[in-house]
């Protein structure tokens, strides 16, 4: 008891300083998190084009949303993107990470090169790939024609455009995941491999029985990070395709952007954002549950 009394004065000082230290954040939180959150609830029930007064319209935004084919299309497009992007990313990243993790000269060089697209702006990457993907004169089609495969309608075929965007996104982001897998691989205890070798397990067997299970935490991080990243897909379709052809690359964020800033439907855009956020939370929680509860070998 006495010791507590003795420390009371500095405690008191600490608690006062504590409040001072978190005050800027409290203000920021109020302005840029709490207020927008509350306001987004208000917007859900209004029609508003920013310049004229808000109009209360009850549940009409939701009514519209559930009968809006473009909303569903945008969700499906985004999920399609994720379904191509995430597995592709994991395979490529893990493959390159395993290669980098072996005895190697110039590891630093390779690592740096694979990471390069990560640091460069998405706008740059998109402009660059627009040229690579161009149908008549693009670099890729020239190469494919030269080896006799012929031209591929990368961005102009509605069935193909999202795949092309996913390919590009993988190229841009895979560097992050290579690094994450590398860190994961280095955490695998050497002894596990040594004892497995003594037992006569082949390299492939070791990979499936030791490496993959030990990387489980990394997989969780990779899947969750790329899901959240994938759900914010915007710049790539905005610059590359404008959402076309035939709305096949209209991502959820692009649709929200269009509704808000092209058609001036702030209330409806907020509703789209709200429902979309719920879907993201749902998907992420589901993923965590699935990956985390899988039995460990």
């Amino acid at each position: 008891m006495t010791s507590l009394w003795k420390f009371d004065s500095p405690r008191h000082r600490q608690s006062k300083t504590g409040y001072w230290f978190v005050l800027p954040y409290a203000v920021f939180f109020g302005g840029f998190v709490a207020y927008p959150l509350i306001f987004s609830f208000v917007l859900l029930f209004h029609r508003w084009n920013v310049v004229t007064p808000m109009e209360w319209i009850g549940l009409k935004n939701f009514e519209r949303l559930f009968s809006d084919p473009l909303f569903f299309k945008a969700i499906i497009n985004t999920l399609k993107f994720l379904l191509i992007h995430i597995p592709l990313q994991m395979v490529v990243a893990l493959g390159l990470a395993v290669l980098l993790n072996s005895k190697l000269k110039c590891r630093g060089f390779f690592r740096a090169v694979f990471f390069l697209p990560v640091v460069v702006s998405g706008v740059v990457v998109t402009i660059l790939w627009q040229q690579l993907y161009a149908f008549d004169s693009g670099l890729l089609n020239r190469m494919l024609s030269a080896v006799g495969i012929g031209r591929v309608p990368w961005l102009i075929d509605p069935d193909m455009a999202m795949l092309s965007i996913a390919l590009m996104a993988t190229w841009k982001n895979v560097g992050i995941y290579i690094i994450l897998f590398l860190v994961g691989l280095q955490d695998v205890p050497r002894e596990l491999y040594e004892s497995a070798s003594i037992d006569g397990a082949t390299r492939a067997r070791q990979f499936f029985r030791i490496t993959l299970p030990m990387l489980r935490p990394t997989f969780v991080v990779v899947v969750v990070l790329s899901t959240i990243g994938g759900f914010s897909l915007f710049v790539e379709p905005y610059v590359l395709t404008g959402g076309g052809p035939m709305e096949s690359t209209l991502s959820a964020v692009l649709y929200i952007y269009n509704q808000a800033f092209y058609f001036n439907h702030m209330g409806y855009a907020a509703t789209l954002g709200f429902v979309f956020a719920l879907i993201i939370l749902g998907v992420v929680l589901l993923q965590r549950k699935v990956i985390e509860t899988e039995p460990t070998t």
């Binding site: 405690r11 600490q14 608690s15 300083t17 504590g18 409040y19 230290f21 978190v22 800027p24 954040y25 939180f29 302005g31 840029f32 998190v33 927008p36 959150l37 306001f39 987004s40 917007l43 390159l96 060089f109 690592r111 090169v113 990471f115 390069l116 697209p117 990560v118 640091v119 460069v120 702006s121 706008v123 740059v124 402009i127 660059l128 790939w129 627009q130 670099l139 020239r142 190229w171 560097g175 690094i179 994450l180 860190v183 991080v221 990070l225 914010s232 915007f234 710049v235 905005y238 610059v239 959820a252 929200i256 808000a260 800033f261 702030m266 907020a270 954002g273 979309f276 956020a277 993201i280």
Partner: protein, 269 residues
């Protein structure tokens, strides 16, 4: 044999990742008619694409805007972020646990939900088309607070106690004692914040319409998709190169930090 295959695979990978950038940079230096091919060399290298880009859009101003925006956001994030992180890690006050929960909650909140209301807040405050609107939502990030807190927790209490006994204020302890010990996390947060701020496109597109306030990626985006580049490849590639260059240069100097930052951020996230 196996080693050769390994190097072959990695070499191929390196070409896939680096060649497009090399092609972009060299093509931006070629006259329009030469750009078609996939070779890098040209007999008539020229700077005319760059001259034209600068003639058509105020890229110098945009560069300055981007620097202002990214630097202020970075400085704010590390100063305020470390203050909150320190308070959460080392100061006793009522509601600390609740605050930490709030910060974590903020991090899980998808930006899609607050995007429109944040824009409307800017409109209501009457600050669209200002620097303030560009930086305001990025002045603090939950992510940096958590990163700082995580790091500060492992700093020995003895150091802090010693400073307190010497009569240092908590602010002084943070910046004079803790910061020098926390170089890795300060660098990580700075790099990540600077990079994401530098590369951000969506928010500037929303709050800035005035060309003299546009950031570099925004201006380049609008230059490419609005008709101004007149579908001239050379101009688009030159604009893209100019946008990429500052980050590529920074990356070539601080490569190790970039990669380590991403790794630690990814793992803690």
């Amino acid at each position: 044999m196996k080693a050769t295959a390994k190097y072959l695979a990695l070499g191929l990978g390196a070409i896939v990742f680096a060649y497009p950038f090399l092609w972009m940079i060299t093509s931006s230096l070629k006259p329009e008619a030469d750009i078609g091919g996939f070779g890098l060399w040209s007999t008539h290298f020229t700077l005319s694409n760059y001259a034209q880009v600068f003639e058509r859009i105020p890229l110098g101003r945009a560069f300055l805007n981007s620097i202002i925006v990214s630097l202020s956001s970075t400085v704010s994030v590390i100063v305020f972020g470390s203050m909150v992180g320190y308070a959460l890690a080392r100061l006793q006050f009522k509601g600390r646990g609740a605050l930490y929960a709030v910060v974590v909650f903020t991090m899980t909140l998808p930006f899609q939900i607050t995007l429109i209301p944040q824009y409307i807040l800017m409109v209501k405050l009457g600050i669209t088309d200002t620097y303030l609107a560009l930086v305001a939502p990025t002045l603090m990030t939950a992510f940096s607070i958590i990163l700082f807190r995580q790091f500060f927790i492992y700093i020995p209490q003895a150091l802090i106690d010693a400073a307190r006994i010497d009569g240092c204020s908590e602010l002084r302890i943070l910046f004079r004692v803790i910061w020098p010990l926390s170089r890795p996390v300060v660098i990580t947060v700075s790099l990540l914040t600077f990079m994401s701020s530098w590369n951000e496109v969506l928010w500037p597109l929303i709050v800035v319409r005035n060309r003299s306030l546009m950031t570099m990626p925004q201006l380049v985006t609008l230059f490419t998709i609005g008709g101004e580049a007149e579908s001239l490849l050379g101009l688009q590639l030159a604009a893209a190169t100019l946008l990429a260059l500052p980050i590529i240069i920074a990356y070539s100097f601080f490569q190790r930090y970039f990669i380590e930052s991403m790794a630690s951020a990814g793992i803690k996230g």
